[in-house]
């Protein structure tokens, strides 16, 4: 990994670059050119983008440069190059959702998240690769090629927002937007060594984002640091009348509490679930991370969640029934246009019973009640983001322990399924590396609409560690 003394522009964090833009020491066009040059350098190795809009990005950057020169500074995202997962609508830019079915789809309207980023002055450099229709965790895309992990291109970037995770890790943008249904922001954040948050359901608009499973879909930022993540979250969070599931809850300044220490904070762990059935390197890294936070005077508390077992089945039932409903027409008219893995999952989702689906949804209520009760005694939970490190590109199974191969889809959601089902916000933060140099992430789970505390814990952890600032050799 690189430890550079004098860094190039594209190697800075979002907030470092923003400071230079605000002081007019660096222009948006210089930042955009630096990022586009890095995209040219890295893309042949990692394939993180489906579409790059270099000319448009330069034109927008020039316009922002003129605004800033005229005294109109719009805030930390002004003039900063960012990337969007390809299931977000972008007006005039092809938005495929990683599919052949939508391969020619050019929206005539932005997603609300896209519009808010544009209004904050962000420069969109391109649309990132993803698992087809977000229905899977590998980003092994049959239509646009697999995205590869910048830390080892023979390994996967996880998914479904694998392109966004790889692009941030490879310094191809200062931040990216991902979407997360069962773990699709947090999983690629963990295996690519970046920071990414799944918000409380309803906190960020899903308007004009191609859905996977309506009752669990969310969108959120993926960045190099927790502070960068908070800066992007400040822009995209908030009620949207165009999204009927959007919550009318006041939006705080997510940067405001970052520097408040974690002394006295109570961190819940569920030992029998959080630290069983995982690779030793992951176990050790997350346990060490808890020690770091204890060193900052946080308190680790063992908690029992009586019905946590069963969450993976509930997750699979809901996450298959809802996409199969959305795709019902295309599955009958264009089945050959789906990749094999997604096609069979859509077929399976049509064959589950309504009672399976509704019992799974009732289980969500039960699990949420248990977590809400536990929040009387703790402020956040911390667990691994996933139980293993990046697997080889193309793998459909994984060995976690005992030499036994397990189905990738079930195994990968061991920890991320819990916030998805309960609607709780959660963020993956880099917390170590395996002996063979692959990143490991820990997941911080908070109370509903308390993303501010999650950002604070992540930021304080990153003040005491340097896992987040390490950079892959490409």
């Amino acid at each position: 990994m690189k430890q550079t003394a004098a860094r190039d522009l594209h190697q800075m964090s979002l907030l470092e670059a923003a400071q230079l833009v605000e002081k007019r020491k660096v222009s948006p066009l210089e930042l955009t050119d630096a990022v586009l040059k890095q995209i040219e350098r890295a893309e042949p190795k990692i394939n993180a983008f489906i579409t790059v809009v270099a000319d448009q990005a330069r034109a927008v950057a020039k316009a922002h440069e003129a605004m800033i020169a005229a005294g109109y500074y719009m805030g930390p995202l002004h003039g900063l190059p960012i990337a969007l997962k390809d299931n977000l609508y972008t007006k005039g830019i092809r938005s495929t959702a990683g599919s052949k079915v939508l391969g020619d789809f050019v929206p005539d309207e932005d997603a609300t998240v896209t519009a808010r980023l544009k209004a904050s002055g962000a420069v969109i450099v391109g649309k990132t690769n993803m698992h087809e229709f977000a229905w899977g965790g590998t980003t092994d895309n049959p239509h646009y090629g697999p995205t590869r992990n910048p830390w080892n291109p023979e390994r996967f970037p996880a998914g479904s927002s694998g392109g966004s995770g790889a692009a941030v890790a490879a310094r191809e943008c200062f931040g990216a937007i991902g979407t997360d249904t069962g773990g699709s922001i947090r999983l690629p954040s963990a295996v690519n060594g970046v920071t990414g948050i799944r918000p409380t359901i309803g906190r960020v608009s899903n308007y004009n984002i191609v859905p996977l499973a309506w009752s669990m879909d969310t969108a959120g930022p993926m960045t190099r640091t927790a502070a960068d993540c908070a800066a992007m979250f400040n822009v995209i969070a908030g009620h949207d009348p165009k999204d009927e599931a959007s919550a009318r809850v006041p939006v705080p300044d997510y940067m405001a509490q970052l520097n408040v220490g974690v002394g006295g904070l109570r961190i819940g762990v569920v030992p029998d679930y959080f630290f069983s059935h995982l690779q030793p390197a992951v176990h050790d890294a997350v346990r060490s991370a808890l020690k770091v936070l204890e060193g900052q005077k946080a308190q680790v508390v063992d908690v029992e969640i009586a019905n946590i077992q069963g969450n993976i089945s509930a997750q699979l039932t809901i996450e298959s029934a809802e996409p199969s409903t959305y795709h019902q027409h295309w599955l009958r008219t264009r089945p050959q246009d789906y990749g094999e893995d997604v096609r069979v999952l859509l077929e399976v989702g049509e064959m589950l019973l309504a009672t399976h689906y509704l019992q799974a949804q009732r289980y969500r209520t039960l699990l949420r009640h248990e977590f809400m009760e536990a929040f009387d005694d703790v402020d956040v939970f911390i667990c691994p983001t996933l139980p293993f490190v990046a697997t080889p590109v193309g793998a459909t199974s994984v060995v976690i322990e005992g030499g036994k191969e397990e189905d990738m889809l079930s195994a990968i959601m061991q920890y991320t399924g819990v916030p998805s089902l309960t609607g709780l916000p959660s963020m993956s933060v880099p917390c170590g590396f395996s002996p063979d140099g692959l990143p490991i992430g820990m997941q911080i789970i908070g109370r509903p609409f308390d993303e501010a505390t999650i950002f604070r814990v992540g930021h304080q952890f990153q003040q005491a560690t340097d896992w987040h600032s390490r950079e892959p050799n490409l």
């Binding site: 919550a247 069979v344 049509e350 019992q359 809400m372 109370r447 509903p448």
Partner: protein, 72 residues
């Protein structure tokens, strides 16, 4: 019914879903359903127990209760 679904049994699901599949696709579908359905049935048995009778499906978390929103 055993834990393993057969291609013949998948044909019944196809009828229910009005989703005819070619014969070569049935094995892949059966393989996944053979794992997922027993797990879903186990969860259904749990959720059908009397102590959970009052729980309703939480399909969307909108309009959070006031106590769920952190005070600032």
């Amino acid at each position: 019914m055993g834990e393993e679904f057969t291609a013949k049994e998948i044909e019944v699901f196809e009828l229910l879903a009005d989703l005819p599949l070619k014969a070569e696709r049935r094995a892949a579908v059966a393989g996944i359903l053979s794992v997922w359905v027993p797990a879903a049935n186990e969860l259904s048995r749990k959720m059908a127990e009397p102590q959970y009778r009052a729980l309703t499906p939480n399909v969307r978390f909108t309009h959070p209760a006031a106590e769920e929103v952190t005070e600032r």
